[in-house]
């Protein structure tokens, strides 16, 4: 009994700093990921020194279409809505609004992006990434960078769900 009590005490003692680290990582990860998504959305709406709220989707649809993965209607739909969805996810992540679901949605989006990028890279397509602005060329660096974003996003989502589960268990 005594031994069990000591063991529980030790677990609790180590759980506290782990919880702090997890929360700190979650906060930093959310801010970083949110910032990345805000910049990504902004760069698709504001380029060449001006806002393109009326014609941004022409340029972005050209970038998406160069991947040769989607039919025209899907290209147009994605081009119209993705920049706004990226901005929305960025705001949600930074403000911590429905953070778990925002992180999950971000991870799902990044899985799609990363798969498309890897496919294009393996096919040696000389195209725009369409990640930050429309004329950013897809290179090996793009694959590494977006792979890192995906890893970060998955970690943030995992920590967000784990933290939520822990606090739910406590209450």
């Amino acid at each position: 009994m005594m031994a069990t009590s000591t063991a529980m005490h030790t677990v609790e003692a180590t759980a506290q700093p782990m919880g702090f680290l997890a929360r700190a990582f979650l906060l930093l990860g959310r801010l970083l990921l949110g910032g990345i998504f805000l910049v990504a959305g902004y760069a698709k709406l504001h380029f060449d020194g001006e806002w393109h709220l009326r014609d941004y989707y022409f340029f972005f649809s050209m970038a998406i279409d160069s991947y040769h993965m989607l039919p025209l209607w899907a290209v147009e739909l994605a081009a119209r809505f993705l920049p706004w969805f990226e901005l929305l996810l960025g705001v949600m992540l930074i403000l911590g609004l429905w953070a778990r679901w925002a992180a999950a949605a971000t991870s799902a989006l990044l899985v799609v992006f990363f798969s498309a990028i890897v496919r294009a890279y393996l096919l040696h397509l000389d195209i725009a990434c369409g990640c930050f602005g429309n004329n950013e060329r897809l290179t090996g660096w793009t694959v590494l960078r977006d792979g890192s974003f995906l890893a970060l996003s998955l970690a943030v989502a995992w920590f967000a769900f784990a933290t939520h589960r822990r606090s739910a268990r406590k209450s």
């Binding site: 649809s61 050209m62 970038a63 160069s66 025209l72 000389d126 195209i127």
Partner: protein, 226 residues
């Protein structure tokens, strides 16, 4: 009597005017002392750029394409996007299309192809040869034998002029191509095709890798309706 004098006077005036117009031309050719086709046709980068352009220069939209005749994506872009743009927008006076040569070092025959296209442009056959070079890219890129494909689409008389330019005015033609390349480098271009669209004084570079005709059409219609 008066009528005869009037007719004789008009004839004399006309002959004098014709002589006056003919003399400077003769002087120019003889004073330059050059008898090369380049000197006769006056190949300058500006005149070549104009010769490699299609449509009306006053069209509301201008498309500039930096292209390499041996680049597969350029071929794809030309055949699937630019051709319909030429047929539907350039011909209708809505788009002014400017071709800039940007032969990449990785392609063995693209510079040679650019020289043929430039020579054809000077003679006034750019569009025909441009299309022939892209259409037959897969054939001539294997051995660099471009001439038969140029000859196949030109009249014998025009081919003679083009070949004379190609053989005797290579430095001038190369200088024109180099001017295009310098312009491209000044715009930080490192791959082809690179496309710039200008409308109402605003110029935008389109995403690299070429653009499908459907999307280009939507964009052009938007620009023309603004």
């Amino acid at each position: 009597m008066k009528a005869r004098v009037l007719i004789a006077g008009t004839l004399l005036f006309g002959m004098a005017a014709v002589a006056a117009m003919a003399v400077p031309g003769k002087t120019k050719t003889s004073s330059s002392g050059a008898s090369t086709p380049a000197a006769q046709t006056r190949i300058t980068p500006t005149s070549v750029t104009y010769a490699k352009s299609l449509g009306s220069s006053t069209a509301p939209v201008r498309i500039e394409v930096f292209s390499d005749y041996q680049c597969p994506q350029c071929r794809n872009f030309y055949l699937n996007t630019l051709r319909p743009v030429i047929d539907n927008y350039v011909s209708a006076g809505k788009v002014y299309l400017i071709h800039h040569d940007f032969p990449l070092a990785m392609h063995a025959y693209s510079h040679e192809a650019a020289r043929w296209a430039t020579a054809a442009a000077v003679v006034g056959d750019f569009e025909t040869v441009d299309q022939a070079l892209y259409t037959n890219q897969d054939k001539w890129e294997t051995n660099g034998q471009i001439e038969p494909f140029v000859a196949a689409v030109l009249s014998p008389a025009d081919m003679k002029k083009v070949k004379l330019l190609y053989t005797q005015s290579a430095p001038e033609l190369d200088a024109a191509v180099a001017t295009d390349q310098a312009l491209g480098k000044s715009k930080n271009i490192d791959s082809t095709p690179t496309i710039f669209v200008t409308s109402r004084g605003e110029t935008h570079e389109l995403p690299p890798g070429g653009v499908s005709y459907q999307l280009m059409k939507q964009y052009l219609d938007y620009l023309l309706q603004r």
